[in-house]
Structure formats: structure tokens, C-alpha cells
């Protein structure tokens, strides 16, 4: 299949008179890493929230995988294949790393409750299969050392990686990452970038991410969309965006 996996058409959203998103339109191509950048309050997180249905757009269309919707509930978005991580970790802090990752697979379960309760029928093979998939992704993100650790005991950078693992294990077609590298030092950022690139290349996941570190964004993404006060001021390859005068005034221009 070709064509854009995600299309936004004139999406607007406001909170009590504040225009968070203003007639925003852009496409995300299948298989790319698309970065959303812009100053704080530009509407980046709001946009992710519209895409996976936490917010409902006031007007405009979101077209995911040729299907048009005005609002989709987060649970349905997840079932459609939209995965996401959160700016502030929303992991299950009292569960182990492996249980967190397994939780990301629950929506893929095809067994009935009775099969599950008595461990008969397809349940055994499914449990084995889920365990294997969880362990694969844990290995992929180099987490085996922390497999049975309770999430709240792990360092922040590792938690962010667990969040990525939980989102990736369900093999989403589109993965939304809200500031996956917030609060990380350069080494951690480099490591995380490597994992994001790996996921994109090896698992063929289309990724939309929000990131503030322009250096990281330019190195990582194929496509950059620049937002300022809910409006799109730039859209193109990192090169194009870097040379776009509007972007420079709105955002990159703030060199002190």
C-alpha cells in the first residue's frame, strides 16, 4: 500500500477561546519519521491528542489509513493500530517491565474469557505467543536486564524505553511519541534516537514525534512540520525547513 497513512485536513481545536489548532493540514507518509516542532504552546501535544482521540477536533478531518473520522476513542485508536507514548510517563508503575509490555498486547487477544479462565483451547498458544512477542521487543530495546524489575524502581531514561516497548509490542502502524527524549542527557538522547530509528527501519513503523532538540530532530526525521500558535508555518524535509524564512522567524530565529 502506498499513499499517506495519516492526513489532516483543516483540523481546528480551541479551549475556551484559545485557538490551540488553527485549520491545520498536512500528510504523514507511510514509513516515515515525522517530527512536530514548535515553541511551547504551539499545539503539538494537542495535535497528538486529536489524532488518537483524547480530544475531539472542533472541525476538520483526520484520515487514518484511508478511514476518515472526526473523533475516535483512544481505545479504538489503539485497536486501529495507533500506538502512543506520553510526555509524562504513563506506565503502570507498580507492575514489572514485562507485565507493562504484556499489557500492550492485551488488545490483540483473540481468546474468549472462558478459554482464558481455564487455560484451554487457544489460550495456551496465545499466552506463549504473547510471552515471546514481549520478550522479543524487550530484547530489541535492550531491556532484558530489567525484565522483572518494577517500573517505578528504574531510572527515568529506562522508563522511557519501557514506554516505547509497550507501545511497539502491539506493532502499531502509526506510533505517536510525545517528547520521547524530554529530560534526557545527550548520551541518553543518542541512545533513544537509535531505538526510534531501529523501530522505524526494522519494524516498519511510521512515527510521529514531538521533540524540542532541533539537533536531534534534524538527524532523526524524514519530514518536519513546524507549528506556531496552532498554525503550520513550515512543512518539508529537514533541509527545507531549516531554510524556510517563516520558520526561522517563528522558531529557529530565536538564536541568542
Amino acid at each position: 500500500m502506498s499513499g499517506p497513512i495519516l492526513q489532516l485536513r483543516d483540523v481546528s481545536l480551541s479551549f475556551k477561546g484559545i485557538q490551540a489548532l488553527n485549520a491545520l493540514s498536512f500528510d504523514v507518509a507511510r514509513g516515515e519519521i515525522c517530527a512536530l516542532i514548535g515553541p511551547n504552546g504551539a499545539g503539538k501535544s494537542s495535535l497528538l491528542n486529536v489524532i488518537n482521540g483524547v480530544y475531539r477536533a472542533d472541525s476538520g478531518d483526520v484520515i487514518f489509513d484511508q478511514q476518515r473520522f472526526v473523533r475516535i476513542h483512544p481505545t479504538r485508536a489503539a485497536r486501529f493500530g495507533i500506538g502512543r507514548t506520553f510526555q509524562h510517563n504513563a506506565l503502570f508503575k507498580r507492575l514489572s517491565v514485562r507485565d507493562n509490555v504484556l499489557a500492550g498486547l492485551i488488545r490483540h487477544s483473540r481468546t474468549t474469557l472462558l478459554e482464558h479462565a481455564f487455560g484451554v483451547g487457544r489460550d495456551r498458544s496465545e499466552t506463549r505467543e504473547f510471552g515471546r512477542r514481549a520478550d522479543d521487543i524487550i530484547a530489541f530495546l535492550e531491556l532484558p536486564r530489567h525484565r522483572d524489575a518494577i517500573v517505578s524502581t528504574l531510572p527515568y531514561g529506562v522508563q522511557k524505553r519501557v514506554d516505547l516497548a509497550r507501545a511497539l509490542v502491539g506493532r502499531p502502524t502509526l506510533l505517536l511519541l510525545d517528547e520521547p527524549m524530554a529530560g534526557m542527557n545527550q548520551d541518553e538522547k543518542r541512545e533513544m534516537s537509535r531505538f526510534i530509528l531501529d523501530a522505524n527501519r526494522t519494524l516498519k513503523t511510521t512515527i510521529v514525534l514531538i521533540e524540542h532538540d532541533i539537533g536531534v530532530v534534524m538527524g532523526l526525521s524524514h519530514h518536519v512540520v513546524v507549528l506556531d500558535y496552532g498554525r503550520k508555518v513550515g512543512d518539508g524535509t529537514p533541509e527545507e525547513v531549516r531554510n524556510n524564512p517563516d520558520v526561522i522567524t517563528a522558531y529557529l530565529g530565536a538564536v541568542h
Binding site: 488518537n52 483524547v54 483512544p74 481505545t75 485508536a77 489503539a78 485497536r79 500506538g83 502512543r84 506520553f86 504513563a90 506506565l91 503502570f92 508503575k93 507498580r94 507492575l95 507485565d99 504484556l102 499489557a103 500492550g104 492485551i106 488488545r107 487477544s109 474469557l113 482464558h116 479462565a117 499466552t127 504473547f130 509497550r166 507501545a167 502491539g170
Partner: protein, 293 residues
Amino acid sequence: MNFFVETLVGGLLAGVMYSLVAIGFVLVFKASGVFNFAQGSMVLCAALTFVTLREKNIDFWLAALITLAIMVAIAIAVERVVLRPLVNQPQITLFMATLGLSFVIEGLSQIAMGASVHELDLGIVDTPIKFGDIQVSQFDLVAAATAGVLVVALSIFFSKTRVGISLRAIADDPQAALSIGIRLQTLWQIVWGVAGFVSLVAGLLWGARQGVQFALTLVVLKALPVLIIGGFTSITGAIVGGLIVGAGDSLAEIYLGGLLGGSVSTWFAYALAVIFLLIRPAGLFGEAAIERI
């Protein structure tokens, strides 16, 4: 010494039955963060339905099956009619809803099946069995074994399996659970269905012991100290709490009863619960609510 052991064993066996009721609460509490006040009326409803069917000469297992079907139907109806419209409401609203629900279930059960006291015979002979010098009631033994098996099965089911992970995930962070595609509605139906099943077993065991009557709803009040001692969020806590309350009750009755003028067991568990609230408010196995500032 033998007398002490006998009292202790009797108390522990009764305690397993408290644990059984408490587990129903823990499951609902974990899934929706609310103390389900209607649990007691569910126990009454299950016992009353079962005994009414039995009095119509319906086979034991068939009666149990029909009752179970009714309890599951109630669980699904409760999720649809009561819980779903109240999603994202404050917990106190949900609590009030379960309070109202308890009156509805109680009332409807009694309209449908009458309010008279029924005798329930499960066919367990209640002759004491001797272990050396110690006598144990056979009924208590069977009841405790049944409850024990159920308690262990439920705690395994709700820890290792997919449903268990969903339950713990929702208890930990409901928003995150929704965003990764865990279905809250389904889980609520499962949990209330299991609570209905637990009510059925508890209703039969308690009903056989005390007679099936309105007072069965008071089982809720006995489960409260169990939950406070064990912690509202822990199945292990419900088990240990039940044993402590059971053993504490019967030992206190025997050894303090004389000093304090009897019926110690009516208040002893609550006094114990108050002490726990002072020393360890989250209960033995509960998770302390630590808020990050």
C-alpha cells in the same frame, strides 16, 4: 492448650469465609476504585435465588448454574446501567451508586422471593472430626476448603493472566490503560461477574450456617475490618485479613468474653481495624497512597 488450638482452628476456618467475601470487594475496588456497598445484597440475592430454586425441587448443580447465570446477568446490567454512565465521575458518586444499588437488589430479591427465613441444607454433615485431641467441625472444614480453593484460584487468575494484568493496569493508571486499548467496560463486567460468583459461594456457605435471611447482607460489615486490616487493593491482604479477623474473633470471645461480659466477637474485629487504621492506614498489604508533589 488443646482448647486454645481448637478455638484458633475454628476461628481460622471461619476467617477463610470472611476472606471469600472480602475478595469480592478487593476485585471491584481495584477495577473501579470504589467500595462496592452492594456486595452484601448480592450475597443475599444469590442465596435467596438458590434456596428458592432448591425448594422447587430443582437439582443442586442446576440450581447453582441458574443462580450463577442470574448473578452474571446482574453484573452485566450493573455495568451497562449504573457504571458506564458514571465513567470519570468522582469515586464518591460511584460509591453512592453502589449504595443505591444495594437497596434495589435487596428490595427486588425480597419482592420476587419473599422475606421469610429459609433453611439451606448443602448436604454436609456437621459432626465434629477428631484430629488427635482436637475436634473440628466438619462443616467448617468443608466450607473453609471450598472458600480456600476459590480464593487461591481467584488470586492466581487475577495475577498471572491477561485479565489480571488488565486489572492491575487499570488500578495503576486508568488513562494509560485506555490508551493502550484495554477495555474498561469488559473488565468491569468480568470483575462484577466474578464478584457475583463469589457472592453465590459466600451466600451458600453463610446461608447454610445462619439460614438464608436478610441478615446475610450484614456480611458486608464483617468484611470491612478484613479489608482495613489486609488493605483494599490486595487479594493476599484479603486472605490474611480474613484469617486475622476470624482467629481474633473467636479467641477474643473465649478469652476476653468472660472479662468483658460476652459478645466480644461483635465488636472485636472493628476495634482491631481501628488499631490498624492508626498504625498502618493502608493495611498490611495495601498500597500506601503516596502523592508526588
